[in-house]
Structures are given as C-alpha cells and as structure tokens.
Amino acid sequence: MNFIEARRLVHEYIRRDEEGNVESIQTALDHVDLDIEPGKFVAVLGHNGSGKSTFAKHLNVLLTPTEGTLWVDGKDAADEENLWEIRKNAGMVFQNPDNQIIASVVEEDVGFGPENIGVPTPEILKRVDQSLKSVGMSEYRTHSPNKLSGGQKQRVAIAGVMAMEPKCIVLDEPTAMLDPNGRREVLSAVQRLNEEKGVTIILITHYMEEVVDADQVFVMDQGKVVMEGTPREIFSQVETLKQYRLDVPQITLLADELRKAGLAVPKGILTRQELVDVLCRLY
C-alpha cells in the first residue's frame, strides 16, 4: 500500500473582498495524481509558486483538498476524525528555523510534540533523548535555540518531529535559509533517518544537488506534477527542467554540454565520479 495517494487533488485559494464576494481564485494544485511508497526518499522540485508548498501542507492536513482525495497512511485526509492521527504520522519541518521552535530550551522544544499527543512523562524523556541523538544534537540538550546555527536549529526541528515517532517527515524547503554547511548537516541527518529508521522522507526543495540521492523525484509547475522519475531520468532532461525555472547540478550540465559538443557522454550523469569514468573511457 502507498503511504501517500493523491487522486485528482485540487486546491484553490479564494480571495474575498470585504463583503465576502469572491475576488479572485488561484488554483494552487491542479488535479494532482501522485503516489509515494513507504520508506522512500522522495524529492519534490518546483520553482517558487509552483504549488509544492501547498501540496506539502496537505500531507499534514494544514490545508484540506478543495476537490479530489488524498490518503495519508491509508486515511482519508478530508475526514476530520483522522486529523490528529495523520499529523502524528506525517511530521512537518518548515523553512524558517526561527519560526518553528516554540520553547526556549532545546529539549523542551523536542518534548512539545509528544506532550501534545499525551505521551506519558517517562516516555517523553526517552523519546527526547533518542530523537536528539538521531540528529546528532544531544550535547545541545539544555541550550537555548537562539545561540544555535541555522543548520543546528533545523536539526532540532527535525528532532521535534521525530519525537512524535512519525512514519514520514515532510520537509518544506528546510535548507533554503541555510549556508552550505548547514545544508549539508540537515541533509545528512535526513538521509540517516531514512536509511536507519526507515522513515519516509518527502523533501521539497529547489536545490538540485539535494535531489541526486533521492529514490524518486516529482517536478511541479503551475499546480501540476509535470515530471516524475528517478533523479537520473529527471536530470537527463536539462532543457525541460529549464522551462520549469529549474536547473540541474553543475556536473550534469557540463556532461550535457559535452554531449552536445559531440562527445559520447550518456544523458543524466549525476556525480563527478560518473563523469570522470566516462571521460577516461573516451580518452
């Protein structure tokens, strides 16, 4: 069974004037069909305003479908009875590290989620321990979040979600405000959770380098899923990606340019090692 199943999912933002009359309708999700298997590392790409954030918010029922259906872990997201169960199972990490940390001490923040779902005290302490460890932040347990770097704050946010023991974590551009080191920290923490704990990861981003190791990539544009495949399949279509205001990793782009210049370089080269091997064979 798929962990996420979206069928003809539509979401419209309706703007009303002061009298409540509809002023404008903006279709943020336009008949999205999408399946995600449990345990996968999935990336969703798309430029700003492509609808990827709106989609992410549906997975956690922060938004509900205008039309169509969405199942999360076999539960219908439109049914209010499933609300807390879905939120518990599909945790969410947001872009701005400062705006999602609630407490003034790291461990208290990590404990916030379990407190909300009524986990008994000794169990909370155990979970806080484990989640901080799983993102490598144990030594900052009693620190104030204000003194942490961006990457560290995001890892605390991830720990806060992990403490609810979700089956899936949705990360909505978690690295957009970080420097390269912070980006690496967050990404490797997420990858570890996926590999070691089998947590399904849905990473929403527009940094192409972060997508290379994903199992599956979706590209969104104007509220629609326009491309779907493995990173290699996606990145072999350089021109199409550019149309959607995206690009490809520099190595992939170079490989593509060399191929256009007449070298026998295959499409969809992802890593430096691959390109080195190919070029050395040509030599």
Binding site: S149, M177, R245, Q250, L254, L263, R272, Q273
Partner: protein, 285 residues
C-alpha cells in the same frame, strides 16, 4: 572612487564574556569598477566587513578612506557616504514599508534631500535598471513574488545613485531561475551603470562565474584575495575552513589524476568544457 581599509580591527562586546574579535587587522583596497566576490562561512566576519564600508559599524581601530578622505574624521558626512556606498542586506524585501513600490524606491533619494521630482526621476531610473515591469510600479510591494520584491529592494538602494553597490547574498531563498535573473541583472548594472559591485555569496559556482576578484574571509581575516582561479587553486585550504571550490574544479583535478591533461585551474563550466574537449582531441590524435 576607491575604498581603502587600513589595519581595520573590530571587537564587539569588549571586556565581557561575549567579547569577539570580528575583524582582525584588515587592509584592503577596493578600486573603481571592480566586481568583487566575498566568500566565507557564517561568522567569518564578512557581514561585519561590508557594514564597515558604508560606516554602519565603526572600526575599533584602524582607518577607512573613501576617495582619500578618512570617514572617521570629525564632520565627515556619513549619511552621504551611505548614498555613495549602497548596501543591500540579506532578504532586503523585509525592509519594504511604503504603500506603493514607487514610493518605497523614492525613500532613499528623499532622505538624501532631493526634491520630490528629482527623487521620482531617480526611482524611475532605478526601477528600470532592475528590470521591473512598469505596470507593477504603483502596486503594493507586498503583492509581489519573492524575486520581484527583492528587485524592488535593490532598486531602493540603487536609486541613491551609489558608486559602490554591496549585495549580501542577493539570491538567498530564490529558485534557480530567480537566482540567475538577479545575478544577470547585477552584471548588467555593473556594466551599464559603471558601478563597483561587491557580492557576498555562499555559492562558489556563482562567484566563479561572475566576479573578477575574490576575497575569502576566515575568522575575521582575509585568507585569500585574488582572481577566482588563483583562489580556487587552494581548494584544500578552503575545505579546511568549511568552504569549497566549484564542482567543475574538483572534476578537473580528478581527471588530471586519471591522466587527462586538462586545465586544473578551470572554475567555470565554459572553461572546463573547452579544456576537456581540447584534452580529448589531443588524446585521440
């Protein structure tokens, strides 16, 4: 136009437990018309450095000369300096406040004491220079997309007619196309308006593509200062301080190690491409 930093030091919270030597003995000369990149990890002192250039932060010791004049001299018009050295902060769209885009861009020139007409003229030119479509000018800046808002904020600084434009990570948070558009616009402004541009960036690929001179900051000191290909030749030292070289530079080193006679100092895609093609042609003959 030139900016000279002469043994500049900056220490904050001196005498407390939080004391930090943010800049250590910095001496630099920034000449007219250069396109300079500054890289360094968070906390390396690059933000502190750029805020010295327009007098927002006052050095603890050392001197800064703008066009030969000491900016710390009594009576030196710091406010005028801030018009000459325009500073665009990170996420500059957060400073927008007026009801229309056009009014917001007028804010800087009006602070310079220009009349309404002159200020509007400056705003007009600046909005043109950042390439914002004219039909948006009289809308609220808050209805724009992220990339457009950022252009408005840059126009707000540009309208003061600076001779030097400093941009602190102008592409942060934008999507790939948005990043390219902003950077291309900056290049165009550098070329067409003949201004000096200082670009603070986290992207090695971007600085390699765009700048003529690269300054690497580390622990409050200038670690390297030179053309990008020279600086990136020190990629191992850069890595030791948490930075890196562009992806293609690593590729070239790898290829060289495997026996291909490519140019290891290539830092941009074009250079790498040309060098690989050359090496393979020679090899196959």
């Amino acid at each position: 136009m030139s900016i000279i930093l002469d043994h500049v030091n900056y220490v904050y919270s001196a005498g407390t437990a939080y004391e930090k030597h943010a800049l250590k003995d910095i001496s630099l000369k920034i000449e007219d018309g250069q396109f300079i990149g500054i890289i360094g990890h968070t906390g390396s002192g690059k933000s502190t450095l750029i805020q010295h250039l327009n007098g927002l932060i006052r050095a603890t010791s050392g001197a800064i000369y703008y066009n030969g004049e000491d900016i710390y001299d009594k009576g030196y018009p710091l406010q005028k300096l801030r018009g000459k050295v325009g500073l665009v902060f990170q996420y500059p769209e957060h400073q927008l406040f007026e009801t229309t885009i056009f009014k917001d861009v007028c804010f800087g020139p009006k602070n310079q004491g220009l009349s309404q007409n002159e200020a509007e003229l400056k705003a007009f030119e600046a909005l043109r220079a950042v390439g914002l479509s004219e039909r948006l000018w009289y809308q609220s800046p808050f209805d724009l997309s992220g990339g457009q808002k950022r252009r408005v904020a840059i126009a707000g600084v540009l309208a003061m007619k600076p001779e030097v434009l400093i941009l602190d990570e102008p592409t942060a948070g934008l999507d790939p196309k948005g990043r390219d558009e902003i950077l291309d616009q900056v290049v165009r402004m550098h070329r067409e308006l003949h201004i000096t541009v200082i670009l603070v960036s986290h992207s090695m690929e971007d600085v390699a593509n765009y700048v003529g001179r690269l300054i690497v900051m580390n622990r409050g000191q200038v670690m390297f200062d030179g053309v990008p290909r020279e600086v990136f030749a020190h990629y191992q030292e850069l890595e030791a301080v948490g930075l890196s070289a562009p992806q293609v530079t690593y590729l070239m080193h790898d290829l060289r190690r495997r026996g291909l006679s490519v140019d290891e100092s290539a830092t941009t895609l074009e250079e790498a491409k040309a060098s690989i093609l050359r090496a393979l042609q020679v090899g196959s003959k």
